[in-house]
């Protein structure tokens, strides 16, 4: 039996022949994170992909500076100078490195700015998806019973929707004009929203209390109010963001895309996290924490959550390319980012009609999309290998 602590592993890089020798070095213990980093460093494909993502992020952040540096035109600047007598797009040249589209706009600039849109959507929507999915998953898995039943059925309902149709419907409804909004009187409707979310929070808290074998006494309510307080804050924030007479609003453009992606994606990660939580809550360290009198909140977020980091990281890296493709698909179908904002999906959509006469218009945003998605997938794959304790890597 090894004397190494459960969360440490023997460095297998040390030669066995050295054991027993007087001058043998001490056995180096490595934490899972050290092991993870060691494995990642050894994986060239993942490293290259990660470097590409860093490069892409820099390109997106410094898009304007790069455009200025190479002397390209702004992404939305139209020019008939670069169109022929029929209004056809111009091929790559010194003036337009990636050619132009059929409005005379520089495809190079638009591809760079498209990266900004793609990464913005990818990071924001992935972060929100993970936040919602992990929270719901932990709550459902930890409390089980009625809370699990309600949340799991909610996930089932969400998963049962044909995602693209749902996205198209929401996108079509919210992409135009002022977007989707629920009107109401400023005070009444805001109070209604606050009351609704507060009630939902109290309900969940009550369920949690019951789950612990207790009644729902008022004297313990205050002490156990963290869930309703959280929901109340969310409600207040929502009401404040909504403004005077609008209870809820999704503006056209990126907010619609992000909303659609989050709505469609959170149940997937919630399911994964729920399953993991169901297993973790039965572990000895959770029993020990409970025996020591830790609160549910502490058990969930201080004991269970750290053990979920690996699947969360892996899932997030795999979620990002999915959201990029989803944004591209929505923009391709005309319900995503609104013109004239550059988006790879919209550019590819516009290019399909003129692909035989303007190959550059589809090729460059298409390549950017493929490379980005591939890079994120490779990094996700590499992380999965590196975080897997059963992995054969060093």
């Amino acid at each position: 039996m090894s004397s190494v602590a459960p969360d440490q592993l023997v460095d297998q890089g040390v030669g066995l022949g050295q054991f027993g020798a007087e001058s043998a070095p001490a056995i180096a213990a490595r934490s899972p994170w050290q092991l993870f980093w060691r494995r990642i460093r050894a994986d060239n494909v993942t490293l290259v992909a990660a470097l590409f993502i860093v490069f892409l992020t820099l390109v997106a952040v410094f898009a304007q500076q790069i455009i200025d540096l190479v002397g390209a035109r702004p992404p939305n600047a139209q020019s008939t100078k670069y169109l022929d007598e029929f209004g056809s797009a111009a091929p790559p040249s010194a003036d337009n490195l990636f050619g132009t589209d059929s409005l005379g706009r520089d495809v190079f600039s638009r591809t760079l700015y498209g990266a900004r849109v793609s990464l913005e959507v990818a990071f924001i929507s992935s972060a929100l998806t993970v936040l919602i999915g992990v929270t719901v998953g932990i709550l459902a898995g930890y409390y089980r019973g009625v809370a699990d039943t309600v949340l799991s059925r909610l996930m089932d309902v969400m998963l049962a929707f044909p995602v693209l149709l749902l996205a198209l419907g929401l996108g079509a409804a919210c992409s135009f004009g002022d977007g989707c909004k629920i009107e109401g009187t400023p005070v009444g409707s805001s109070l209604a929203v606050i009351a609704l979310v507060a009630c939902a929070g109290v309900g969940l808290s009550a369920l949690a209390a019951r789950r612990r074998g207790r009644r729902f006494p008022a004297d313990t309510l205050v002490a156990r109010l963290w869930i309703p307080v959280l929901m109340l804050c969310l409600g207040l924030a929502l009401a404040l963001v909504a403004g005077d007479s609008t209870v809820f609003k999704i503006s056209p453009g990126l907010p619609v895309v992000i909303f659609v992606i989050v709505i469609a994606s959170w149940p997937h990660i919630a399911r994964v996290i729920r399953g993991q939580t169901l297993s973790l809550r039965e572990k000895e360290f959770v029993e020990a924490a409970r025996a020591l009198g830790s609160s549910d909140r502490r058990i969930m977020f201080r004991h269970i959550l750290p053990n979920l980091v690996a699947p969360i990281i892996v899932y997030t890296t795999l979620l990002i390319p999915t959201t990029i493709l989803f944004e591209a698909a929505l923009s391709f179908l005309g319900v995503g980012v609104q013109p004239p904002t550059a988006s790879w999906g919209a550019m590819i959509s516009e290019a399909t009609e003129i692909f035989d006469s303007a190959w550059w218009y589809m090729t460059f945003p298409g390549l950017a999309l493929v490379l980005t998605v591939l890079a994120f997938n490779l990094v996700g794959d590499g992380m999965q290998d590196a975080l897997n304790p059963r992995s054969s890597g060093r």
Binding site: D84, P339, E353, S357, D385
Partner: protein, 589 residues
């Protein structure tokens, strides 16, 4: 395979794909063979065969009393006959169709008599001769609420006894008289017989047999739309009861020869044995390629997109003809909304607009001349307005590529000291979701932004552009960048009255898109309408046209020529009235 192995395979696939893409990019296709405008001819065709038209959408109605879309006219004028029409050989001169000769106009201009040809028969199941009473009934039913007609009250409202509002049920109109089976007399309140004669080419004069249609017309809307009988060389397939079986809305229209049609009574040669319309071809580029490279195919609704037009001009020039549309495309701004209620703001917008860029979105110079007014070449009043070039008084129309400095001067005149609009609101703009309309809207957006306007796009399907948004004043649109109006007949009235007369503003199906209601313009229009056909009337419409430009009611940008493409084995003949393939003249080579 290990996961690392899979990743290397993925990379290899990517490289292979790159190689494929770059290889594909190496070939730009055949080099340009030079452009050219195919000469307009009416070729002698061979009898027999069938062609298929590729269309994106459907007709609005099959019922001639209701049909108003250009595409509907493409079907209608090869399956139905009106009192008068146009031959493709002389498209600027109307010729008798059902009529036996020119209309006889009374000396006071208040009455008009039309003699009909004998021997024109309806298709099955009616099978009888067309009479003057059928045309009387056709016109009367078009004033009924059950047969919503977009132009009856506008163009035919001067007939004695004509109702000013749609009637409940079909009511007799005393001013329309079937003197005998082959004589129709129309009495008018004012001496406008000349104008009315010009409007007798419209589908309202397609005969409708009362004994067959009356029951259908009792429904609202009339069910005659699904049970139409035909008087032309072709008929849409129907069953023994007359129910149309060859029209599957949104899918197809199938036309065959009308067994009761007599070639001796018609100027249409009707070479083909049958023809079909395939609908749902939403991708105009794909449809265009199919037509150019296929066999027996012709263009349906819409125009080929710019890249297909270029391809046709350079590589398939024998498969392309043009039809002057007799209309104007323009950007309409809502003149009832601030700041577009200010004429100087509107002039600034016209001044800044790059109309060449707008025209390039539809294919450049090949699709027509840059417009500066609302009467296009070929229309009476066009030359009187000044012809191709805008008169010097309109400084804001002198530079087709736009004049920012002048535009800013007008903005200053309008009260915007910086020369730019300083409002922060986003102006609701209705754009179509497909090219070329979408591209035109994006170009328009860029022009507005030059003067500091911010547009809030609402992108909608083409078929709802008018029915739900730009044709519905209460939708509160600010800008409609993709509107256009094309002639109903050869007179200035058909272009300027429904579109700029304040009295023409209606809650739905409105065509006065700028919502301009100016007493001076309305007065000029009313005065022009009262004049008999001729030089004085043409000058009056030119005066209306110039006043519209003076008040900058909209931003005109192209006088269309409609390009029409067909397959190599098709003799294409255009109907210049509907700017579409004239199926009764089209033949196979």
């Amino acid at each position: 395979m290990s996961s690392k192995g899979i990743r290397f395979v993925l990379l290899a696939c990517l490289l292979a794909m790159l190689t494929f893409v770059l290889a594909a990019c190496g070939d730009d296709g055949p080099s340009p063979a030079g452009g050219g405008d195919a000469a307009k001819t009416v070729p002698e065709g061979k009898k027999g065969g069938s062609v298929t038209a590729l269309a994106a959408g459907d007709v609005d109605y099959m019922d001639p009393g209701q049909a108003y879309y250009t595409f509907s006219y493409q079907i209608l004028y090869s399956t139905q006959r009106t009192l008068y029409y146009f031959s493709p050989e002389a498209p600027d001169k109307q010729i008798p169709d059902i009529a036996a000769g020119d209309p006889e106009i009374a000396g006071d201009g208040k009455s008009l008599t039309v003699k009909l040809q004998p021997g024109i028969k309806y298709s099955p199941p009616v099978n009888r001769d067309v009479t003057a009473a059928d045309i009387k009934y056709a016109m009367e039913r078009s004033f009924s609420v059950n047969v919503p007609n977009a132009y009856a009250t506008g163009y035919f409202g001067d007939i004695v006894g004509a109702p000013s509002k749609p009637t409940t049920g079909v009511k007799e109109i005393s001013g329309i008289k079937a003197v005998d089976d082959l004589t129709l007399q129309i009495d008018l309140k004012s001496p406008s017989a000349g104008t009315l004669a010009a409007a007798l080419v419209m589908p309202i004069t397609v005969p409708v047999p009362e004994e067959y249609a009356a029951d259908f017309d009792k429904s609202n809307p009339s069910k005659y739309n699904e049970n139409v009988v035909f008087s032309g060389p072709y008929m849409v397939k129907n069953n023994a009861e007359g129910k149309l079986t060859g029209w599957k809305p949104g899918k197809s229209i199938s036309a065959v020869r009308n067994p009761n049609w007599d070639a001796a009574t018609d100027f249409r040669p009707a070479y083909l044995d049958s023809w079909e319309v395939q609908e749902g071809n939403d991708d105009a580029a794909v449809a265009g390629r199919r037509i150019l490279q296929g066999q027996g195919l012709v263009q349906g609704d819409g125009a080929p997109p710019a890249q297909i037009l270029k391809q046709a001009i350079q590589q398939y020039k024998d498969q392309l003809i043009y039809s002057p549309s007799g209309g104007t495309r323009y950007v309409a701004v809502n003149t009832t909304q601030k700041p577009f209620d200010n004429v100087d703001v509107r002039k600034a917008l016209i001044a800044v607009f790059d109309r060449t860029a707008m025209r390039l979105t539809r294919g450049g110079a090949a699709v027509g001349d840059i417009a500066w007014s609302f009467l296009p070449p070929g229309m009476p009043g066009y030359e009187e307005s000044g012809g191709l070039k805008a008169p010097a008084e309109f400084d804001y129309l002198q530079k087709p590529e736009g004049d920012l400095a002048l535009a800013q001067e007008y903005m200053k005149k309008a009260g915007y000291a910086s020369g730019k609009y300083d409002g922060t609101e986003k102006i609701l703009t209705i754009a179509t979701n497909a090219d070329p309309g979408k591209k035109s809207a994006e170009v328009a957006q860029a022009q507005f932004e030059k003067l500091g306007f911010k547009l809030n796009f609402r992108v909608v399907p083409q078929d709802t552009l008018y029915t739900k948004f730009c044709g519905v004043p209460k939708s509160d649109y600010g800008v409609c960048p993709n509107v256009g109006f094309f002639k109903d007949f050869l007179d200035g009235q058909s272009l300027l009255d429904p579109t700029f007369n304040g009295k023409a503003i209606i809650p739905a199906s409105n065509t006065n898109w700028p919502l301009i209601d100016d007493p001076k313009i309305n007065g000029l229009i009313d005065a022009a309408k009262a004049l008999p056909l001729g030089a004085e009337r043409n000058q009056a419409w030119a005066d209306v046209n110039l006043e519209l430009v003076r008040q900058a009611v909209a931003i005109p940008w192209v006088w269309d020529k409609q390009p029409i493409i067909s397959s190599k084995n098709v003799n294409m003949v255009a109907d210049d009235y509907s700017n579409s393939p004239f199926m009764a003249f089209v033949s196979l080579k």
